[in-house]
């Protein structure tokens, strides 16, 4: 087990380096950089060659690629993400400001998704091929089909028309005013959570169906055990493994992938920062964000794999 964990951990390093190299090169192969984005766009009155060259030298963009990459990597080793080319602020600071919001939203959406998915999946499995089953399946496929930003717009609109009330549009940290904070974040969490419950619902359903056919369930039934007890103790426990994996992966995705939903709800999270970084051609910030998201993704992947292997002794480690 320890060998397996260490091996998987070590395998993360080359993948992350690969991600770093890939995004580093991708950003730099195309014409146009942050200096151009700042001076040439808009009024363009500062587009004198000397000013731009000086600015490039200040940002280190005139140095050879491998030096730029080396500087970035050395900084990373020291835990220093560098400085945003657009705002000039340290990237750690830029990310820290938004991370709390994105993390809270991801956790809330995951809770919503889990609360929807597990009961619905169980009910659908128990009443297989009935109208309930069909209704649950249509409900979950519909969740996958509806863009969460549209659902968000509809939610806001619904609140406005029915209750003449709008959720607060300015972010308040949870520890400052929990009520205000939840009043704002529950809506995007609902919109996104519904969407992400779809995959987990289907996973719960099929895992339950598989488990319910097992011999030990029949034995438990034959023993005359109470149905609820069979479900919780015998079936659910065994069916939860694949569901956990799906939920874990979605959580990783939610942390960095809420780009569009943040836009609708006017939330200044990591997704919005990412879109801005791309628009400004802010190399350092884009790099750092891509690496962060990839890191979380790989880490959660790793954690679910380990949890899986740990919870299910039948899995062999290769």
């Amino acid at each position: 087990m320890t060998k397996y964990v260490v091996k998987r951990l070590l395998l993360m390093i080359p993948t992350l380096i690969g991600v770093a190299v890939l995004i580093f090169l991708l950003l730099r192969v195309v014409p146009g950089d942050v200096v151009e984005a700042r001076y040439v766009g808009g009024s363009g009155q500062f587009s004198s060659k000397e000013v731009m060259a000086a600015e490039r030298a200040r940002l280190g963009l005139d140095r050879p690629l491998w030096t730029q990459f080396g500087t970035w990597m050395l900084g990373l080793l020291r835990g220093d993400l560098g400085i945003s080319m657009w705002t000039g602020a340290p990237i750690t600071e830029e990310i820290r400001l938004r991370f709390a919001l994105s993390l809270q939203l991801a956790v809330m959406a995951t809770v919503v998704a889990t609360l929807l998915a597990i009961p619905l999946g169980i009910v659908a499995a128990l009443k297989q091929d009935s109208w309930t089953d069909y209704a649950v399946r249509v409900f979950s496929i519909a969740g996958l089909a509806m863009p969460s930003f549209w659902l968000g717009i509809l939610l806001i609109l619904g609140l406005l028309i029915v209750f003449r009330w709008l959720p607060p549009m300015v972010y308040t940290p949870f520890w400052v005013d929990p009520w205000q904070n939840l009043a704002q974040l529950i809506w995007p969490a609902l919109a996104v959570g519904y969407r992400y419950s779809a995959v987990a619902t289907r996973m719960t359903r099929s895992a339950m169906l598989e488990v319910l056919r097992e011999d030990y369930i029949r034995t438990a039934k034959a023993k005359g055990l109470w149905l609820k007890l069979i479900l919780v103790r015998h079936a659910l426990k065994n069916a939860m493994l694949p569901v956990l994996t799906v939920i874990g992966l979605e959580f990783a995705f939610l942390l960095g992938g809420l780009v569009v939903t943040e836009q609708v709800f006017n939330l200044n999270g990591l997704g919005l920062l990412f879109v801005e970084a791309i628009a400004h051609r802010d190399y350092t910030l884009t790099q750092a964000l891509v690496l962060l998201v990839a890191f979380v993704f790989i880490l959660v992947n790793f954690l679910t794999d380990v949890a899986y292997a740990w919870l299910d002794p039948r899995i062999r480690y290769r």
Partner: protein, 300 residues
Amino acid sequence: MAVTDRALDTLGEPAERAERRWLTASRDFVRRRPLGALGALVIVIMSVVAALAGVIAPYDPLATDYGAMLGAPGAPHWLGTDAFGRDVLSRMIYGSRTALLVGLGASFFGATLGALLGVASAYFGGRVDLVMERFMDILLSFPLIILALAVVAVLGTGIVNVTLAIAIPMVPRCARVVRSTALAIREMPYVDAARAAGFGHGRIIMRHMLPNVMAPYLIMLTAFLGQAILLEASLSFLGLGVQEPTAAWGLMLRGAAVEFAETAPWMAFFPGLAISLAVFAFNLFGDSLRDALDPRLRTQ
């Protein structure tokens, strides 16, 4: 050589019989999977609407009419007008073209490239396979939309670039699935036979292995379609996809649609409904097709 060549290459089925087989298979599909058939029906309707947009659309989708800004649904604008007085229905009809074009283009390109890489990876094995797999790992460590955004950052916006940006995240996903099927096919006697007959790598991959991974390829292709349409809408909504004044559903939900959501809700409502319906239909169809083609993946 000529004889072996034919024996190994042709599928040996007259066109007429193949046609009848298709017909029977389709009828069977409709009977056994009504939900999938419903999805297919919506897709067919959508395609017809997209193809005949010029005939069906009551107005020019780009024509502005400042006298009729933010008009409510009703005659003469059935689904109302937007902030520039453009007819919402006509823009939706033309928007189906964008959605289908980008959706089909991206899925086809992404799945095909993925299938080619997956089969090649399995066929060559060894170091090629290892390097390819690690590269796919790297691509897979990006969430779908983040990779698409990164590609847009590199290529720029516009319909062709957006199609590519959506296709690229699909490549590793398809390659993974196709590779696992191709690994088994590589061990088949007919591949050995083809190799013994002295065929080149390219020919064995293209004519002997690729046709046999059609089932996972089609499954991935149809599974991508809905996602691709959704991704295009998301990118356009962010302003990083298809650009104004082109009619695209995601674009219609952007800007004024949100600003005037209270006074003119139809601007945001109908295009979103179109996206949902299209993705819903593609997902229903894709799911049923998967169940029909691959019994192992069948959702019980």
